[in-house]
Symmetry: C3
Subunit: 269 residues, 3 copies
């Protein structure tokens, strides 16, 4: 798998896939800079008058409901349909699903009416998408992981997508095969938009592979590895320095370092 | 007061209050990162379909009119009413009031129809909210400070809120008791959104206290202290490095450093 | 010319011109911070209810269609008309023209109905504005430069504006006189919004001169020089550090360094 991570990262740099993002206003700048750093070509376009055109020429589409408005939602449906028509893969980031019924209903409607290839969210978001409860507190760590794997697999089957469930351990699954990934650093939780950017990095990686499940797992490994090097380089100075080094290492991390850091376990039911 | 600053900062870290921001597009990312850095939980939500739900589950609501649109204004009223109904405290940041009549009228309407606990602005903004003039140029510094204290107290009485008037000296008052605070650094004026983030930090601090006036003053002291350490650490390299170190020190500044730096004077009429 | 670059930069710092930006959501924060760094006063305002007021009190207006919506476009026309009425110069940044017909038509309509002083874009965007093709691949470098100069001059004549065509060599022309500028660094292409910020810096510089062509060229030289120093200071660490140093050097670059670095050639047909 290490070779696949390195190879897909290289292909992204070489081919600079155009990633069309309809994303939230908090993370637009960080997402664009992160995509540039990995060598992809970000474009943000929101107007219903142009999203079909943009999604059609893109290599992947990212739908992120972090600060959705009725106009954005309308644009997401238009873009999603255009992407489906042109075989452009779609990654959905269901930010905050469960917090308000508007988010939950919007995310569910998108999943119902659009053919979405990958959903990337945390445990709470994934659980709410399929009306499950996720009980995390005070539970033994191994039990937790097993519960999360079950949740991710259930969601993958029910939603007919690859699920990237991120947390302390990241889980990537199509419902049958699943990867458990131990890369990343806690400082990622102190910088806004790191989950959102990961969704866009997953979108970039799946444009360079015929295997969406594997490419999604590779993106998560790559992303977490860059975070680890960045955390180390930022010398515990804080989230400001971490963010800076993270953008740098998304650009500069070496193949050797990636291969050294990737911590992934593959299982098949 | 030093102990209160340190204690409230600690409580914010421990309890991670959910701060719902309806803020301007310039500062969303910086605000979210700043709130994460102090240990709060930022959420941005703008759609009229969901702001009532979000404001109701938040511990505080921040309304910032920096890039207001008609849709945002509608959402602010809905969120404000939901916050009032659920006893969620509200901080208003009247960015640019006085620059256009749309901003002035919107801020006044919000203050009239919503029960707002704190208003954070500069002298010009506060003056325009209560139709006062503020003449600053060529005036002796002590006279100036007295004028600003009078302005802040007048606004607090008229608007029935705590006023946080920021400038070279920051003034925090409920109309009777007032604090003069000398923390901060001029580099704060070279980074966009530092005032807006302060409003969100004030919102975070007041969630951890029964005394809104005191908690607001504590937030200003904490914020200014972190800025001083950041300015020193950034070695006059410029606003880029300052911003970075500032985010770091909002996260890492020690209790000892805070106690050493707080420069606050309390007066009661 | 070196003296003009230094002199206009100094005037911007002294007079802090108010630059009204109607720009895209990806770059708002970076644009505001960049404008603060050079000493200008940024303001972002988008609502049709206030843009005429804001544009009228500004020293320059920047229209950037990077994430345009129907509401933004309406606001751009209102602001543009107010700016024209008050002799406030306008810089248009036609981001992504050619990618979708909505962008192309919007940019053309703005140029037709509003009196715009400067257009800043890359070769593809400028070409699409005047329905030209630009063929770059596999062409000898000198031929390329000549083609780009011709393109820029043609656009300047047809659109009756100063054209700032940016790329490896930047070209600034009014259709007769043209400047070729060799400042800048490739890392600018790895940070989002560097083109958009340049448009805003051009807007700032032209407020301090009666010669829009010359002031635009000076802005490009200044901007590229700061980028060169920043690239050098960031020690190849990556786009994160580069962005940081760039904001710093927009603020701190010395007159001597500017004079040393400016690489500009002026020609007249």
């Amino acid at each position: 798998m290490n070779d696949i991570v390195v190879s897909l990262r290289k292909k992204v740099k070489e081919h600079a896939p155009l990633i069309h993002n309809i994303t939230n206003v908090v993370v637009t700048n960080f997402t664009a800079n992160g995509l540039y750093a990995i060598g992809a070509s970000p474009v943000m376009a929101y107007a219903k008058e142009e999203v079909a055109d943009m999604a059609s020429i893109a290599q992947a589409l990212v739908l992120n409901i972090g600060t959705l408005t009725a106009e954005d939602v309308e644009a997401m449906f238009i873009a999603g349909q255009a992407a489906n028509k042109n075989n452009v893969p779609i990654v959905l980031d269901p930010v905050g699903v469960g917090a308000t019924s508007y988010r939950t209903e919007t995310a569910k409607a998108l999943l119902e009416k659009i053919d979405i290839q990958v959903v990337r969210g945390n445990a709470g978001e994934i659980a709410n998408l399929i009306d499950e409860n996720v009980e995390m507190k005070g539970v033994d760590s191994n039990v937790q992981i097993n519960n999360l794997v079950d949740l991710a697999k259930k969601a993958a089957v029910k939603l007919k997508t690859v699920i990237v469930l991120t947390g302390k351990t990241d889980i990537v699954t199509d419902g049958v095969t699943y990867y458990q990934i131990q890369n990343g650093d806690e400082l990622l939780t102190k910088v806004t938009g790191t989950g959102c950017l990961l969704s866009a990095v997953v979108a970039s990686f799946i444009t360079q592979s015929n295997n969406i499940l594997e490419a999604s797992a590779a993106a998560v490994c790559f992303y977490g590895s860059a975070a680890e090097v960045a955390a180390s380089a930022s010398l515990n100075k804080g989230p400001g320095h971490f963010q800076l080094h993270f953008l740098d290492y998304l650009y500069t991390i070496t193949d050797e370092k990636i291969k050294e850091l990737v911590k992934l376990e593959k299982s098949i039911d």
